[in-house]
Chain length 391, copies 2
């Protein structure tokens, strides 16, 4: 895979053409070897940082984003114009205290916010890679992040944390690079993707591929974007991020039109209008092929498979301090998935704390103002910071 | 709405053009008044019967099919070439004993297997009704069934039973026409559609409407069928019919190719291949606009709303004998939905039995060989048959 020097205009809206800064050129001179065998480099990784790296480079926190997230953890996301996904957690005196920590958030490999992904121009053809982009894995995403830390001169991060797919990256980090991680917080995570989760992802992919504007992946060459298919994919996925109780509490059977039912196919119920909005807002900021690649990476994730099926072996002798957090109403990455990881860590006499937060807000709870979740996270970070000599 | 005298060729595959028999012309001379205000009649209802009506017409069982079901309860479905959805339950000496009962199963109003639906030709235009078909409700489906029973000369059915949307029809029957129902068995049912269920239906509808071959509903006029969109809708829905445990047990993370992962977007995991098959098989037998109309009917279902929000009032003084059945792993129509109905019936001192079957096979359990479910159903029918003097 040849070098990609700078961002090029892309076919998808809003995110297209925006020059994300900073970026690091990684995989040069030694290229990155992907799980699929393709070598990659030099390649671009876009990231954001918050706070300052201390003198002994011991105060870095690596935040790993979820499937539909990006590097804009805090402040205003320049593509959406909205606050970052953990905006209220990051800043002086806040949970991710920028007076104390140096917070790094990279866009994942395969993404569409500045890091090399399928929407980028393949210099060999002058067109978007599209489906010629190599299939990537969670391990590949983490390998790219390792190169970013090398680039930033950071040997060990104080903490790596993230929810959902971010939590998968955290687990991969802790298992494969334990010496580079002081503490790890996998939130609403799992050590493998379940059959039902693969099924939901496959529905999303089929929705995208069914859109004629997908053009076999080559929509950029035709100046199109499979908006309808991507919106349907997002709608289906969004249901899995909430819970039945949250849907009931937020929407119930409330109608859009207070005058009663209209007997038609417009958005009759408020929940329909909400979902449609989730779909249409997403297509303005996300690339359809990136969605295919990133969901595929999640499907492939099976940490134990790299250790002959043993999750215990994955964490053998780990020096990492863990805090696992799950949510009672999360049916996408339910608590038993976290518990299985805790059992494997306990079998290694690892330093692990585990809390299941009682909430009806579902998988996306880690993105919401859940006071108990935040209190747990703050307590763990403070304790770990004392041990690390950061306080 | 004008008369439709006989089935016409239709644009969707396999089911298209097949002349379903028998059919009854209903709503003549008095037309059916739909919830949306449209009057309908004469209109065609296709149905199947099994066994013989006894002399005093007291042995009729009305089986109500689910969203994707049809009137071919037993024997070979002439469109799919496969066994009917309860084939092994119907026959001499079987649970629905054709030596004892006269089993009737009509295709629902709005369906695509012979009963008047959106794919039918509108004699006013000579084209398919498509979205000019009136939006129908579960109550409308039941009203059409009442007319069918009138047509067959049956004042009271011994039992009305059905699962999922069939169970909604059973509840509607028992509430609105208690004098015409001796016993009722709503299986895996609910008295209203939840916000999450509406959300899943909306994803399916948007997938259909996003398919360019949908043509704003007028695909028949263009000799097309939105196969891709309908397949995606079916795939998303099919996930909700199973359970996470069933997906895990049946598929886990098993690969299609035993040689290992291929790093691509073909069906890599067995669960993907299974889902794709569910999608493609469905489009050969189902009309996309029927899918829109029938899902909409389920969304609108809210039995208590017809009684100022009181489910207790819906069953005031009911003489009907009820048996409710739910399944532990059904997350689409979970047990609390059945329990709410049981509470309303108990408040009326109704004759009601309720069993939650412990199984991991999810919502579709009522279509599967679940011995405990079948034993419960057999026991209830036998007891009711004794009371009705059929044994």
């Amino acid at each position: 895979m040849a070098s990609i020097e700078k961002p090029e205009a892309r076919a998808y809206p809003q995110a297209s053409g925006y020059e994300h800064r900073p970026v690091a050129m990684l995989g040069d001179p030694t290229p990155l070897i992907l799980d699929c065998g393709t070598t990659l480099g030099p390649f671009r990784t876009a990231y954001q940082t918050y706070g300052s790296l201390n003198r002994d480079k011991s105060n870095a926190i690596l935040a790993c984003h979820a499937l539909s997230g990006d590097q804009y953890l805090a402040g205003t996301n320049p593509v959406t114009g909205r606050a970052g996904w953990w905006d209220d957690l990051v800043g002086p005196g806040r949970l991710l205290d920028t007076d104390r920590y140096f917070v790094i958030c990279p866009n994942v490999l395969g993404g569409c916010m500045g890091t090399l992904g399928p929407a980028d121009i393949d210099p060999a053809t002058g067109k978007s890679y599209a489906l010629n982009f190599p299939v990537i894995t969670i391990a590949d995403m983490v390998r790219a992040q390792v190169l970013l830390l090398d680039h930033l001169g950071i040997d060990q991060v104080f903490c790596v944390l993230g929810g959902s797919m971010g939590g998968m990256q955290v687990l991969e980090w802790a298992a494969k690079f334990p010496e580079r991680v002081f503490s790890a917080v996998p939130i609403a995570a799992a050590a493998h993707h379940t059959a039902q989760n693969i099924a939901f992802h496959e529905v999303g992919r089929q929705a995208i591929m069914a859109d004629r504007d997908w053009c076999g992946g080559d929509y950029a060459a035709h100046d199109k974007h499979p908006r309808h298919g991507l919106a349907v994919a997002r709608m289906a996925a969004h249901i899995t991020y909430l819970s039945e109780a949250a849907f009931h509490r937020k929407f119930g059977r409330m109608l859009q039109d207070s005058n009663g039912v209209t007997y038609g196919f417009e958005a009759e119920f408020q929940v329909e209008s909400y979902l449609r909005h989730q779909g249409s807002a997403f297509v303005d900021r996300f690339d359809a092929n990136s969605y295919l690649y990133i969901t595929r990476a999640m499907d492939y994730f099976d940490l134990a498979a790299d250790y002959e099926g043993s999750l215990v072996a994955a964490f053998a002798g780990t020096p990492v301090r863990f805090c696992l957090i799950s949510f009672t109403s999360d049916w996408l990455f339910p608590t038993p998935e976290s518990r299985a990881i805790v059992h494997a860590l306990n079998s290694n006499a690892a330093n692990v704390s585990f809390v299941e937060i009682d909430t009806d807000t579902g998988h996306d709870s880690f993105l919401l103002d859940e006071p108990e979740f935040r209190a747990i996270l703050a307590g763990f970070l403070n304790g770990a910071a004392k041990h690390r000599g950061l306080i």
